[in-house]
């Protein structure tokens, strides 16, 4: 292995470099007093998602997720229930609610299938769909895959295809095994860190939220209604004023009805874009 132009090369994140002057000034002992036995010092997290106070948060290593989210982050917006915390960026994993008392350090995060990674910390609440969230992460890693090594280039694409099948109602139970088999092959054999960690969100989600995947596959239903392909839009006749706005905005013209009379969605043509739901001013459209 060689560095740039054959010379030893040091590449580190800004956060690492920012720690260097402090360690040089106050010494390694001072730095080591903060943190846990294998993870020294502090860590900056980008706290975001469904939490009241978002932003950059610096805490000593070993602080629990509960402290970060509820004490510093002020808890969830609208008092909703915490579902999972996604740490480490798009290559990290989803940590379920029952693990949020674990002290956050490198070893602990790894042991529960996630990682420190980028320091991203995304709070998901009960309205977030785990399957569609993992699909989102796979979209990112597929886009970022450079294309050089085979497992990451071809494998992330196939994993994304499978997740797309599941979120659009075409998944099969064997797809879950395929995701795990592919994921493990990609982790084990990829060339760089991107591929080695790209399947993490899927693998950890399958570990902690398998049931949610199964509901998508067996019942063709998204419990959070986030997967629009699995949602049915219907018009509640009592609430509909017949303003025709939804019919005019429907891109496939599948809403019919007379002016000032309740409208109706022709389900067989609906592409589930959600446009009617978004534009209705009378809450007359229902997502199931």
């Amino acid at each position: 292995m060689k560095g740039l132009w054959g010379h030893p090369t040091c590449i580190n994140n800004v956060e690492t470099w920012a720690n260097v002057p402090a360690i040089m000034l106050y010494g390694a002992d001072w730095f080591s007093r903060i943190g846990t036995s294998n993870s020294k010092g502090t860590k900056v997290f980008a706290l975001a998602g469904k939490v009241k106070n978002t932003g950059l948060v610096e805490v000593p290593m070993g602080t629990s997720l509960r402290e970060i989210i509820y004490d510093i982050g002020g808890g969830l917006i609208d008092g909703k229930q915490l579902k999972a915390v996604q740490t480490g960026g798009p290559s990290g994993g989803c940590i379920p609610f029952d693990k949020i008392d674990i002290p956050v350090d490198y070893d602990n995060l790894r042991s529960i299938g996630s990682m420190m990674g980028s320091g991203g910390m995304i709070v998901l609440d009960e309205s977030d769909c785990i399957v569609s969230t993992t699909k989102f992460f796979l979209e990112f890693t597929k886009d970022e895959s450079c294309g050089k090594c085979l497992p990451c280039r071809e494998g992330t694409y196939r994993m994304l295809e499978i997740l797309e099948r599941i979120t659009s109602g075409h998944g099969e139970m064997e797809d879950l095994d395929k995701l795990e088999r592919l994921g493990n092959a990609i982790v084990k054999s990829s060339l760089c860190g991107l591929g080695m960690s790209a399947p993490n969100p899927v693998l950890s989600a399958l570990k902690y939220f398998r049931e949610e995947f199964e509901i998508h596959i067996k019942e063709k239903r998204c419990p959070t209604q986030r997967c629009t392909q699995l949602v049915t839009f219907t018009i509640i006749p009592e609430k509909c004023t017949g303003c025709t706005l939804c019919a005019r905005r429907c891109p496939v013209s599948c809403i019919r009805g007379f002016n000032k009379k309740p409208h109706e969605i022709m389900q067989e043509y609906c592409i589930k874009c959600g446009e009617c739901y978004n534009v209705c001013k009378f809450d007359a459209i229902e997502k199931i």
């Binding site: 895959s145 294309g147 050089k148 592919l182 054999s189 060339l191």
Partner: protein
């Protein structure tokens, strides 16, 4: 050098520092499957098929790109590794056209072999696959990106060996495609059409433009007089099509096979090689006398000529104006031969069997037409295409009796034969030029200083009172080195031989794909040496070994051409070059 001790599959190994896991495993007979790896190109480490397990490492490591360290404990096999390798190959198949049975490489495709060997028997991950149009703008070769598995061997050979850098990996991720800049058609790129990309490709992402249909049709046309010429390098390699060891001279069987295919005349490009030597030696002596346009650079290799026109147009005046032997032979077939036989040249169909795909392009250069729509060379077949035609016709090649070329355009000296190897044109030219300059017979016929397989040789040859500085380069990166030396004035050369392909024509882009173990290894020095060996053996066995002693050459000058360098010779046997766009980056 330090020795490192490690364990592979429980067997202790002791290897020099810097040895890779793959090299060490190969030595003890533990063969790790591989795909993007090529022993004579830089390490890519991209396909990950060669991954192995190393104790203490969380993930698998690529055997091709990992150097052994002290105490390493390596496992090349486990159910998990085998499954991972299988999954990886399946991922390639999932993104590959399902056209194996109708593919040019069916039966000698490395991906196909690997899938079989690793036991890919099911398809779990199939979905969408990449879509790219077949790019067939070039008269030499076809680029079929859907068959590309992105091993980048072509990219590496095009830059590391040929210095052309025409191909690069474009876009990213799943959309990655190997193509010239701006995804330009090959014909509008700096491609020099050497076909080395075909030779290193494990699949059929690069393949020659087919000429067999054209030739079958001509052979079937009673109005045409169909003749064929074969380049020197064909006889050294054609037997490989029937698993004869590389370097088995098969001239006689090849001639008989061509007659059975129905050719009306079977001629030898080597005759024209002798003629080339006459013209080129004359040109050389003239330039030395006048002290101008030196060094003289040979012009037999159309890949090199295309390179010259794109990359080094400033050296165009230095290139010999001699046509290549193929074009000389074709020209004579449609003039001298036509006259002699009393056949309308437009009714003569000239087929050339060449070890080269650049020859397909050369034959269509506008300079090489008798008149509009009448090229001197009507069709160019590669060695591979000829092998296929002979098989398709049902000819039992191995049991054929030996045949003889037709004369006069089929008689050659030993000098003409060695044209097919790097250094051969130089050696043949020296044999003749020596005698032309000194008027004395050359004492040592074999100029061993210019023989070898290495890409670059320089020598000084005493020719009478004259010290002739010569250089031989094969592989265009080596040509660059020499040309830059000339440019900087670092060394004064008189004569330079350049062949585009590494090892010369014997390892050209149209030669049979030979297997070393499970893999096609066209750049193998051992393979090149054996094919060269066949040509040098034929040379040794020839009674006449100097071009100017060829009786038919003497006759054709007397009867038809006049003297070397005469006006008629110039008109028929010489050509010109021009700077071409896009300009290459040196």
């Amino acid at each position: 050098m330090k020795y490192i001790n490690a364990t592979i599959d429980g067997m202790p190994v002791s290897v020099l520092e810097g040895t890779t896991i793959m090299e060490a495993a190969d030595k003890i007979g533990a063969h790790v499957p591989r795909l993007c790896y090529h022993p004579f190109l830089s390490t890519e480490g991209a396909c990950r098929i060669c991954v192995v397990e190393v104790e203490g490492m969380r993930n698998y490591l690529p055997a091709c790109a990992t150097a052994i360290t002290e105490g390493m404990n390596i496992k090349t096999n486990s159910p998990q590794i085998r499954q991972t390798r299988r999954d990886l190959v399946e991922l390639l198949l999932d993104n590959h056209p399902k056209s194996c049975l109708t593919c040019d490489r069916d039966g000698n495709c490395e991906l196909q072999n690997l899938a079989y060997k690793l036991g890919v028997r099911e398809r779990l991950f199939e979905g969408d696959r990449k879509r790219h149009p077949i790019e067939d703008s070039s008269v030499s070769l076809i680029r079929d990106a859907e068959k590309c598995i992105l091993c980048r061997r072509c990219v590496r050979v095009c830059s590391e060996i040929q210095g052309v850098h025409n191909l690069s990996q474009l876009y990213r991720g799943f959309d990655t495609v190997v193509a010239p800049a701006f995804e330009a058609p090959m014909d509008d790129s700096v491609c020099i059409k050497c076909g080395q990309c075909i030779n290193v490709c494990p699949t059929a992402a690069f393949i020659e433009q087919d000429a067999t249909e054209l030739v079958w049709a001509a052979l079937d046309n009673p109005d045409l007089h169909v003749v064929v010429q074969t380049a020197p390098a064909i006889r050294a390699a054609i037997g490989e099509g029937w698993n004869l060891p590389p370097g088995t001279p098969s001239t006689g069987k090849m001639i008989t096979a061509l007659r059975r295919l129905g050719f009306d005349g079977v001629f030898d490009t080597d005759f024209a090689a002798d003629l080339t030597i006459m013209e080129e030696s004359h040109e050389f002596i003239e330039r030395v006398k006048k002290g101008e346009k030196l060094p003289l650079i040979t012009s037999c290799s159309p890949g090199w000529i295309k390179f010259l026109e794109h990359f080094y147009p400033e050296f165009i005046p230095n290139a010999s104006s001699c046509k290549s032997p193929m074009q000389m032979e074709s020209t004579l077939l449609k003039t001298y031969y036509a006259e002699k036989m009393g056949i309308d040249p437009e009714k003569i169909f000239v087929v050339a069997v060449m070890p080269c795909v650049a020859k397909k392009y050369e034959a269509r250069r506008p300079e090489h037409y008798l008149k509009e729509n009448v090229p001197h060379t009507d069709a160019v077949l590669t060695t591979r295409e000829l092998i296929w035609m002979i098989k398709a016709y049902g000819i039992d090649f191995l049991n054929l009796p030996d045949g003889e070329f037709d004369n006069p355009l089929g008689f050659s000296t030993g000098a003409g034969v060695i044209f097919g190897s790097t250094g051969g044109v130089m050696e043949a030219a020296l044999r003749t030029a020596y005698e032309m300059i000194t008027g004395e017979p050359v004492k040592e016929l074999e100029f061993t200083d210019v023989r070898a397989v290495e890409g670059l040789r320089e020598a000084t040859i005493k020719v009478g009172d004259l010290d002739v500085n010569v250089a031989v380069a094969n592989g265009l990166n080596n040509a660059k080195t020499i040309l830059e030396k000339v440019k900087s004035g670092e060394k004064q050369f008189h004569l330079i031989e350049i062949m585009a392909c590494p090892g010369g024509c014997v390892a050209g882009g149209g030669q049979p794909l030979v297997y070393a173990g499970d893999y096609v290894y066209p750049l193998y020095p051992e393979l090149i040496r054996k094919r060269q060996g066949a040509l040098y053996t034929i040379d040794e066995r020839k009674e006449i070994r100097k071009s100017h002693d060829n009786p038919y050459i003497k006759e054709i000058y007397k009867e038809f051409l006049g003297k070397p360098g005469s006006e008629k010779a110039h008109h028929l046997l010489h050509t010109h070059y021009e700077a071409k766009l896009p300009r290459g980056i040196k």
